[in-house]
Amino acid sequence: MKTRTEKIRETAKRLLSEGKVDVVLGYRAGTIPLRTAPYFARTVEEAENLIWNSHCRINLANFLPRRQERVAVTAKGCDARNIVNHIIENQIRRDQVYIIGVPCEGMVDLDLVLEKESRPIQEVIESNGQLTLKGPDFSTSLDKAEVLRQNCLTCAHRNPTVYDELAVDQVPELEGVDRYADLKELLAKSDADRYAYFQELVKDCIRCYACRDACPLCYCQVCFVDEAMPQWLGKSIDPADVMTYHLLRAFHCAGRCTDCGACESACPMGIKVRQFTRLLEKDVKELYGYEAGLSLEAKPPLTVYRPDDPQEFIK
């Protein structure tokens, strides 16, 4: 059986040589272990550099808005959902983008791996659900399942729902997963405890905005954090400003977030920023029965209403 990497290269070469697309957006191998980089293959030769492994964390849909050329994208379940989002939000045309669906068995949480093996890793070998980390004088084996990102462990759509072709056969979807078990526990606590929890969560934030910049949903020309008249939040390291930033960032993703985890993977400080977006994702699903990016036809929940929408909290 051919590997995902081989299938992706094959498809990319075919699309490029047939002139179907101008560029294939995928991943290339990282210059250091446990990383990959988004890669734009424009020729058949460059397509040879495309790869697929368990470190393709960045969401490639992020690179689509305002693109002019015809582009093929290798897309995990979540990436494909974000491409659908972009199409719905008129950031790219359906006929301009060729979705190479890559059914996904989850991506590895870099921080989690480094927590388990803090020595300098020189090489990573992946086979049969095992990651073997090799250093100058050590070799450590980890179960991939143990170091998956939390969003991948609870992923509801590992197979792309909208695609032009699939690189490999579909993988079984996870069953019996409660995506929000931890949130329910958290919400059962007192408001003071929740406040303390979220303050603690973002206390290390350095305001690099990597979470925003890695997010495919954040394509505004001018982000609210950069607005000056009025200035919505200060730029110093201040708890109220940091929290305001995270709340507004999350709210802007309401009804659009696919929980792809790019924000969390991009955060250099290891902040669990998904805790904010997940709160909204959960509500959107429970209140309006909507999951982002599953179909090109469904209307996003904040662009529609029902006369009988819940409103118990309104006097």
């Binding site: 609210f224 200060g234 400003d241 709210f251 929940p301 904040l302 662009t303 209403y305 006097k315």
Partner: protein
């Protein structure tokens, strides 16, 4: 009277009310014209429609030290722009849940539908809002205080 009650008694909260131009602002006006009494803790900001409300406004009000925020607009079906308040309702639902989930105390954030004919309701809701915010006490969450850095 306990110490706690005393504090609440003396505390005069600042409450920012975002009122829709066509209904709740008219309701406030009618309450005034009708000489209906309610405590003077409310600072009104007129907005064209609750559909114009951005979560930024609410967070900014708290950030700048508001003890409570109240957003009020037309009853569903009565929107001057047909459905502005119905779209807004979904945003308010999500925002209300989000802010409470991250630790906003109960009683700080209020939403209501008050028509321009409901001066009475406006005064009643105003009293309710003020009482709730008073009960919650001075706000310290999501408030920006003087910057504490080296």
């Amino acid at each position: 009277m306990t110490e706690e009650q005393k504090k609440t008694e003396e505390f005069e909260p600042k409450i920012i009310a975002f009122l829709c131009n066509w209904c709740s602002y008219g309701g406030a006006d009618l309450a005034g014209v009708s000489r209906l009494q309610y405590p003077p803790n409310i600072r009104v900001i007129r907005i064209p429609c609750t559909g114009r409300m951005s979560p930024k406004f609410i967070l900014q009000a708290f950030r700048r030290g508001a003890d409570g925020v109240w957003v009020s607009g037309c009853h569903p079906g009565d929107c001057h722009y047909i459905a502005g308040n119905l779209y807004a309702r979904r945003k308010f639902t999500l925002l209300n849940n989000l802010l409470h989930s991250v630790g906003l105390e109960p009683g700080r954030l209020h939403f209501s539908w008050v028509s321009s004919a409901e001066g009475e309701k406006f005064a009643t809701v105003a009293k309710e809002v003020i009482a709730a915010v008073k009960a919650a006490g001075p706000n310290s969450r999501f408030v920006k205080s003087r910057i504490e850095v080296a």
